[in-house]
C-alpha cells in the first residue's frame, strides 16, 4: 500500500517534470521568435530602445531556461527516472540550451559592436535570420515529438536539415557580395562576423537534429 501511494505520487512528479520540459521548449521557441523580431528592428531602426528591450527579453528568457534545465536534469537523476534514456535527454536539453546562448550572444554582439549594415544587405540578413529561426522551430517540434510521438521525429528533423542548407546558401551569397563590394576590409570582416553569428544557429540546430535522430533510433530498437 505504501508502495502504491508512492507510485501515485510518482505520477504527480512525472506530470510536473513533463510540464517543465514543455516550458523549456516553449522558452526556446519564443526566444527564436524574439531573435527574429530583434534583428528586424536592428536592420530597420538600428540599436534603438526597442532593440535593447528585445535583447533584455531574450536575456531573461535564457536565464529562465537555464533554471528549468537545471531543475529537469536534477530531477531526472535524483529520482532515477527513465534510466534508459536520461543520458540522451540530458544531452538533448543541454544542446538545445546552447541555441539559447547563441541567440543571446548574437544579440549582445549587435548591441555592443553596433555593426553598420548597408541597406543592400538587409534583405539577405533578414532571409538568413528567417532560415535560422525556422530551423530552430523545426528542431523544437522534433524534440517535442521525441518525448511524445517518437515516429514523428523524422518528419520534423528533415526540415531542420533543409533550413540549414538554405541558410548556408544565403550566408555564402551574403559573404561573397560583402567581400566583392567597395567597403573597407575592416567593415567587411566586421560584417562577416555577424553573418557567422546568425549562421551558427542553424549549424548547431543541425548538429542537435543529427543526435536527436540517433536518440530516436535508440528508443525504437
Amino acid at each position: 500500500m505504501i508502495e502504491l501511494t508512492k507510485k501515485i505520487s510518482l505520477f504527480g512528479r512525472t506530470r510536473e517534470l513533463e510540464g517543465e520540459i514543455d516550458d523549456f521548449l516553449d522558452k526556446l521557441s519564443q526566444c527564436s521568435l524574439l531573435f527574429k523580431i530583434a534583428i528586424k528592428v536592428y536592420l530597420n531602426e538600428g540599436c534603438t530602445d526597442d532593440f535593447e528591450n528585445k535583447l533584455q527579453d531574450v536575456n531573461k528568457m535564457e536565464s529562465d531556461a537555464d533554471h528549468l534545465r537545471r531543475a529537469i536534469e536534477t530531477k531526472l537523476y535524483a529520482q532515477t527516472l527513465i534510466p534508459e534514456s536520461r543520458g540522451d535527454v540530458l544531452g538533448l536539453i543541454e544542446n538545445l540550451d546552447q541555441l539559447l546562448n547563441l541567440f543571446e550572444g548574437s544579440l549582445w554582439a549587435f548591441s555592443i559592436e553596433k555593426p553598420e549594415i548597408p541597406s543592400e544587405y538587409h534583405n539577405d540578413f533578414e532571409a538568413l535570420t528567417d532560415m535560422a529561426v525556422q530551423s530552430v522551430e523545426s528542431l523544437v517540434l522534433a524534440s517535442r515529438a521525441f518525448f511524445r510521438n517518437i515516429d514523428a521525429v523524422g518528419d520534423h528533423n528533415h526540415k531542420v536539415m533543409f533550413f540549414e542548407k538554405e541558410a548556408d546558401k544565403v550566408s555564402t551569397k551574403l559573404k561573397k557580395s560583402i567581400f566583392g563590394s567597395d567597403l573597407d576590409l575592416s567593415q567587411k570582416t566586421h560584417l562577416r562576423n555577424f553573418v557567422e553569428h546568425i549562421d551558427n544557429v542553424p549549424d548547431w540546430a543541425e548538429d542537435v537534429a543529427d543526435r536527436l535522430a540517433i536518440y530516436a533510433i535508440k528508443r525504437t530498437v
Binding site: 508502495e3 507510485k7 505520477f11 517534470l17 534510466p83 511524445r148 528508443r219 530498437v221
Partner: protein, 368 residues
C-alpha cells in the same frame, strides 16, 4: 519434533534458498538491473508473493511430482533434494540456464531406481513434454504481448516520462504476479519430495480454516525461498539485467509477463477446474523452469526483431539442460542414497534396510 527431522529438512531449505537466489532474478532481474525498481522493493514484493503463491496454490504442480515417485522415507527425501541442489549448483557454475525442476525430476528418478520403485510413465511424459512446451509457449506469448503492447503504446502517444512511470508500475505488478506464479509452480521442487513424509500435522486455525501439513511444509519452503531472495539474489539480478540480450524496459515487462503467465498456466488448479468444467482440454500442472520460460520469452522478442541478437549457444544450453541436469541429479542421488543407506545406516525408502526416521504421513491436498 526430532532433531534428525530438522536436519533432513535442511536440504529442502537449501534447495529453496538456491531457488530464491537464482529464480527471483528471472522475475525482477531486468527491472532491478535497469534500475527501474529498487532492489529492496523487489525483494520484499518477491518474497511476499512467493509465499502466497506457494501456500495458496502450490499443491497442483507438487502433486504431479509426487506421482512421479512418492518418496516414502525422510532420509531419501533429504538425498533427493540435496542431489538436486548440487546439480543446480553445478549447472549454474557452467553458466547454463538450468532450474530446480529438471534437477529434482532426475533426482526422483534416481531414488526410484535405487528403491526399485517403478517410475510413473504418464507423469514422466507429462513433465518432459511440458519442458519442451514451456519455452515455446513463453516465446509465443511474448511475441503476441509485445506486438499488442507496442501497438497500444504507439497509439496512446504517451510522454516519455509517463511511459516510464507506467512501465515501473507495470514491472512491479508483473513481478508480483511472477513471484506468485513462481511460488505456486516451483514450491513442488523444493518441498514436494517431503510431502509424503511431512513431519507436520494438520491443525485448525480458530475453527475457520484448516492449515494442512502440506501447507505448513510449503510455507517453510517459501520462507527459505524468501531468504534466498533477500540474501543472495541481488548480484544475480544485476547480472541478468543485460545478460541475454539488451532489453528496453517495455520489452522487459513483456518478458516478465510472459514468464509469469506460463508459470501460472502450469500451476493453476482454478484454471484447470475452469477448463474441465467446460469440457476443454486441461493444462497439466507441472513444475516448469522459470529460467527457460524467461529465455523463451526473450527469444520470442528476438525473433520478432528479425532474429538479430539471438544467442544460439544459450538455446543449445536449454536443450542440454533437459538432459544433463536430470542425469547429474539422478546419478548423484543414486550414489548418495547408497552411502546414506550403507554407511550412515539410514532408511532411504519404506521397506528398505537401515534405521532412522520413516515418519510417513498420508498425502493431503490443501483444504479448499
Amino acid at each position: 519434533m526430532e532433531i534428525s527431522v530438522i536436519i533432513f529438512l535442511t536440504s529442502g531449505l537449501f534447495l529453496g534458498w538456491a531457488l530464491g537466489a537464482n529464480d527471483a532474478a528471472n522475475v525482477f532481474g531486468t527491472a532491478v538491473g535497469t534500475r527501474m525498481i529498487r532492489f529492496s522493493t523487489a525483494a520484499v514484493v518477491c518474497s511476499v508473493f512467493v509465499i502466497l503463491g506457494a501456500v495458496y496454490s502450490g499443491a497442483g504442480a507438487a502433486a504431479t511430482l509426487g506421482k512421479l515417485g512418492a518418496i516414502d522415507a525422510l532420509a531419501g527425501a533429504f538425498m533427493v533434494a540435496f542431489s538436486a541442489a548440487l546439480a543446480v549448483h553445478m549447472m549454474t557454475l557452467a553458466g547454463l540456464p538450468v532450474s530446480t525442476t529438471q534437477a529434482i525430476v532426475g533426482a526422483i528418478i534416481g531414488w526410484n531406481l535405487f528403491s526399485g520403485t517403478a517410475t510413473d510413465a504418464d507423469s514422466l511424459t507429462k513433465i518432459l513434454t511440458t519442458w519442451v512446451v514451456c519455452p515455446i509457449l513463453a516465446a509465443v506469448i511474448a511475441i503476441g504481448l509485445f506486438k499488442l503492447t507496442t501497438a497500444v503504446l504507439s497509439r496512446a502517444k504517451l510522454h516519455l516520462l509517463r511511459t516510464d512511470a507506467y512501465t515501473r508500475l507495470g514491472l512491479l505488478l508483473a513481478g508480483a504476479f511472477g513471484s506468485y506464479s513462481l511460488g505456486a509452480n516451483n514450491i513442488g521442487n523444493v518441498m514436494g519430495v517431503f510431502v509424503p513424509t511431512s513431519p507436520f500435522t494438520d491443525f485448525d486455525i480458530a475453527g475457520l480454516f484448516r492449515f494442512s501439513s502440506t501447507e505448513q511444509l510449503f510455507l517453510l519452503g517459501a520462507i527459505a525461498i524468501g531468504i534466498g531472495v533477500m540474501t543472495y539474489s541481488k548480484r544475480v539480478m544485476l547480472t541478468v539485467g543485460g545478460g541475454l540480450m539488451p532489453l528496453s524496459p517495455v520489452a522487459a515487462w513483456v518478458v516478465v509477463m510472459s514468464h509469469s503467465i506460463v508459470l501460472f498456466l502450469f500451476a493453476s488448479q482454478g484454471l484447470e477446474n475452469f477448463l474441465a468444467s467446460y469440457g476443454l482440454p486441461t493444462i497439466p500442472l507441472v513444475p516448469v523452469s522459470s529460467s527457460q520460460a524467461v529465455v523463451g520469452a526473450v527469444l520470442g522478442i528476438a525473433i520478432l526483431k528479425g532474429g538479430r541478437g539471438v544467442k544460439w549457444r544459450v538455446l543449445g544450453g536449454i536443450g542440454a539442460g533437459w538432459v544433463v541436469a536430470p542425469a547429474i541429479a539422478g546419478i548423484v542421488c543414486f550414489i548418495g542414497l547408497y552411502f546414506l543407506q550403507n554407511v550412515f545406516d539410514q532408511k532411504v525408502y519404506a521397506g528398505g534396510p537401515g534405521g532412522g526416521t520413516t515418519a510417513v504421513v498420508e498425502y493431503t491436498l490443501p483444504a479448499k
